[in-house]
Amino acid sequence: MSSENILLVDDDSEMLISLARALKASGIEAAIHAASRHDKAIEILLDKIPQVAVVDLCLDEKIGVESGFNLITEILSQDSTCRIIVLTGHGSLEYGVRAINTGAANFLEKPADPLHLAALITDGISQSDLRRAYSKLAIQKTNFIQSPVIGRSEATKTLLRDVEYAARNNLPVLISGETGTGKGLIAKTIHLLSDKGKKNFVKYQANFGTADLVNSDLFGHQKGAFTGANEDRRGLLSEADGGTFFLDEIDELPLETQVTLLGVLQDKKFRALGSNKELPLNVRLLTATNQDPDKSVSEGKIRKDFFHRIAHIKIHVPALRERKDDIAPLANFFLSKLRDAENLSVLGITEDALAKLEGYDWPGNVRELEAAVESAAHKAQFENRISVEAENINIGSSGSVNSGVLSFHEEVRKFKLKLINEKLAKNGGNQLKAAKELGLDRSTLRRLLSEE
């Protein structure tokens, strides 16, 4: 089957048939898909991911050329690597300039020479493939190849495709998956591969906070806005300006804040608490939850209108037990990472040990696997390999990990988090106060929380 796909969109079905025939006769080998309506065009776009779309401007007599411009905008918001060629009977300089400004690559007036159109399509396919290859290469070359996208299973391949797709677009993304699957790393990867990758990535977790505190964290406040607001404070949305804002544990976000944030996302502007000055919102929003998002909506933890606003793209990170083929590559990845970081002499993992790892269900997911490999590697540091015989993997005969044995680093991490969470709870979720009591600055406290 051809991996090259072209989408033709025109409200005249005879035109679609004749154009497809002419393009085939002109030597186009790509699979040609035709749509006479906007919704059908988007359906094909999402299913076939065409490299090129040839779009007529007038798809709906009632709306006129706006129907074509709307479609161009939607195609590019769904897939910015798709090349668009406008082919219209409404040829004018005004429409031509507008089409190019909207993101079309070419503007042709009907009737167009099929050979000329075929040449533009061939060029468009190459351009689109180049952009897609660059995006893939960026994932492979980046230092941010992280555990959630490592593996050979079908589930991981799908996840990788989803991440690439999300990185190419600027739409809000909702990432779901069990604890420990690496949702935060997925969010970071999307950010780094997107056109906002060089700007700030700001993460926020709303638990422990009341609506006022969370609103203050998000939008900032002016001195005197509420009791205890002794100085002006910039909100996290301002800190993320031009970049990405990652809101973790979205179902923990107070409902009042969801209402406020919904308005902000719609209007694309916000105000700091106590301020009349409106600030422009210029961030890409990524959210995550370890719950079933649909269930959270039906239980009223996430407002339906808010959900629709934040979940334009949904990515599900599968549990490790659903992708057991990935356990071996992941275990080797963690071992290699550890070897580089701590100069360990452990070279590998025996087949028996890998089989043992693959036989376990990993309720703590990738994070638990990483901890198990770390612990095993430290135990095996005077041997060549992690092996079952040497009993350096903490999986008991019942097939469960001996959770009482954690690596030194894991123990320290958990202790730090416990300490921070205690201080946050004591201070009603106020990170500034908690950080002060711990002798840390606020950014260090946030970094430690984001490592969770």
Partner: protein
């Protein structure tokens, strides 16, 4: 609406309407190239190009051809 303006708008609409069937003719013609005599092919192609050239004219100029607008 001014009658001249009305006629100009009508010509614009007609021009847009004709372009799609004209495209279809050109597309179909490209499919049968090689199956008909080259001379025959060129004659039909030439005719479609002539129609296209006419459509590129400003509506006002076309109206002048039929005496629809005073000099």
């Amino acid at each position: 609406m001014d009658p001249d303006k009305k006629l100009t708008e009508l010509m614009k609409v007609l021009s847009h309407k004709i372009r799609t069937p004209l495209s279809i003719i050109q597309n179909e013609l490209s499919c049968i190239k090689g199956k008909i005599e080259e001379e025959e092919y060129q004659r039909i192609l030439g005719a479609t190009r002539s129609i296209n050239e006419i459509l590129k004219e400003k509506p006002e100029v076309l109206l002048n051809l039929i005496g629809g607008k005073d000099e």
